[in-house]
């Protein structure tokens, strides 16, 4: 992957701004949801879906498409906004988020939503599923890559570390994981609740190739993904340092915004901030 141009960075910045508005609008209209973790992961999704992944909404189930498992499923409004923008389903669906009969469930549902590769919501399970997809690519001699995104609070789940051993044992270099390292879970800062740190050292000790980046810097993200995808012999964990609630000043780094919808006044304030 070559160095990223200033024009590309600007293109992604504008795209992310539009998608952040979609995310906030969806959660506002739904009256519930998880803005904090959706906004922290959004820039990672933007880089993956607009610059990296080999996907085509016209042939949604192409067996050779790249896969994405959003293991921290509660952040799905960000993914839904991206999938709608990419044309996997009509943007009008976004207004039905979390409503009865909607194809857009409160947590990702691979049987209801086009473009979702794995149902998630119960934390800690996504990396195992991603390992399965990466093993399948190898068995099928397919060149697709599997991407998986974990939360830092989610890293407290034991299954994450069982799966970490699996990916390293099978040398799944066709798999790239991201850690959305925003420092917060629901009950507080992860280091206060039950520290999973030092995370980079743990992943390294588990046999992974580890990179650390600013998870809101498109150029760094793209560069890291390039390095991950060309690395041979081990899976790569990209530890993305992020800000929970990124982009909306009063949501940034606030646990209160993990899982609640903005009221009308907060919604308008958020939209106004995203104009700039």
């Amino acid at each position: 992957m070559q160095a990223i141009s200033a024009a590309t960075v600007e293109e992604l910045r504008l795209k992310a701004r539009k998608l952040r508005k979609d995310v906030i609008t969806m959660i506002y209209e739904a009256g519930s949801g998880h803005p904090g973790g959706a906004l922290s992961v959004l820039d990672i999704l933007v880089v993956l879906y607009y610059k990296v992944m080999n996907i085509d909404p016209q042939i949604e189930k192409n067996p050779h498409r790249d896969r994405l498992v959003l293991s921290k499923g509660h952040a799905c409004p960000a993914l839904y906004a991206v999938l709608a923008d990419k044309g996997f389903f009509p943007p009008a669906y976004l207004s039905s988020l979390r409503k009865i009969g909607s194809p857009l469930q409160g947590h990702p549902d691979m049987r209801k939503t086009p473009g979702i590769d794995m149902s998630t919501g119960s934390l800690g399970q996504g990396l195992s599923a991603a390992n399965g997809m990466a093993l399948a690519a190898r068995l099928n001699q397919s060149l697709y890559r599997t991407y998986v995104i974990l939360g830092d609070g989610e890293s407290q789940e034991g299954q994450v570390w069982e799966a970490a051993m699996t990916s390293a044992h099978y040398r799944l270099d066709n798999l790239t994981a991201f850690l959305d390292y925003n420092g917060l879970q629901i009950d507080g800062w992860i280091r206060d609740v039950k520290s999973p740190e030092p995370l980079a050292d743990k992943w390294r000790a588990f046999g992974w190739h580890v990179l650390e980046v600013d998870g809101h810097d498109y150029a760094s993200l793209l560069e890291a993904i390039g390095r991950a995808n060309s690395y041979k012999g081990a899976p790569t964990m990209i530890i993305a340092h992020t800000v929970k609630g990124k982009g909306i000043s009063f949501m940034e780094n606030q646990i209160d915004w993990h899982g609640r919808a903005p009221n009308k006044e907060e919604y308008e304030k958020a939209l106004a901030e995203l104009e700039h």
Partner: protein, 316 residues
Amino acid sequence: MREEMATREAYGKALVKLGRNNSKVVVLDADLSKSTKTVLFAEEFPLRFFDMGVAEADMMGTAAGLAASGFIPYVSTFGVFATGRVYDQIRSSIAYTKLNVKIAASHTGITVGEDGASHQSIEDIALMRVLPNMTVVVPADAQQTCLAVEAAAKHEGPVYLRLGRPKVPPVIPEGLPFELGKAQLLREGDDLVFIAAGITVKLALEAASLMEGQGISAAVVNVHTIKPLDEALLLQLAQKTGAIVTAEEHSVIGGLGGAVAELISENYPVPVMRVGINDCFGESGSPKELLQKYGLTAEKMVAAGRAALEKKARVY
């Protein structure tokens, strides 16, 4: 607590009271303390509260160790994560060992609402009921939750307490005695009996009133303890009425309906109709819409009552 209140809220308050009276009570949560309301206990007793992070399996095992060392752990998270997510930890370290762990699961059933199927436990009663040594309690309102929290502390051995997210009105008459394993006859009736637990108790009372208007006399019993089941009272009601409808915010397989059908078919076979979630997962939506869509309404219970009466007429 004679007010409209979520059972999880009543649980949080009852825990604080229990903590003041019993220094052996400790509380564990898995990063959901504000939702399960164990945060109230954490604020007053920070040293006796352990936030285990998003690590439910570890939480169950830790609780087992605390119980094996003389403490009375109350362990809380959402119903799906308090049961299926940690099933073998409960089975091996808590049920098999008969340890004094109280699993208080909030956000059970479909009234979890908008979070959707991944967060709606519709199988937790079945999972817990099948474990030897486990006591399974489903309180019907806030007041009953407080009584259940206290009774669980006095009971030696594992207890599963099933709690809900939305506010519920008081349904159990003030002063009615509460004893684990003793069901409560809330309304007498001759033709039919509604056997309910949790939020369906109120629906059963409504259904019985509707049927009274149609000249049918229906009894209502609150089975707050699904295991051990109050076999004596339920068999007596089966004999008296000859027709049964069970109702629960749970799969029709393996829960209250399953327990009653097992008891009745072996001891006094009469028609049993089960109202509940019909072997499918839920979805996102408001609790009210979901109850309607998945058939948990007084009207559906009346229809089941009529079906039970028809079968009874055919059988005898």
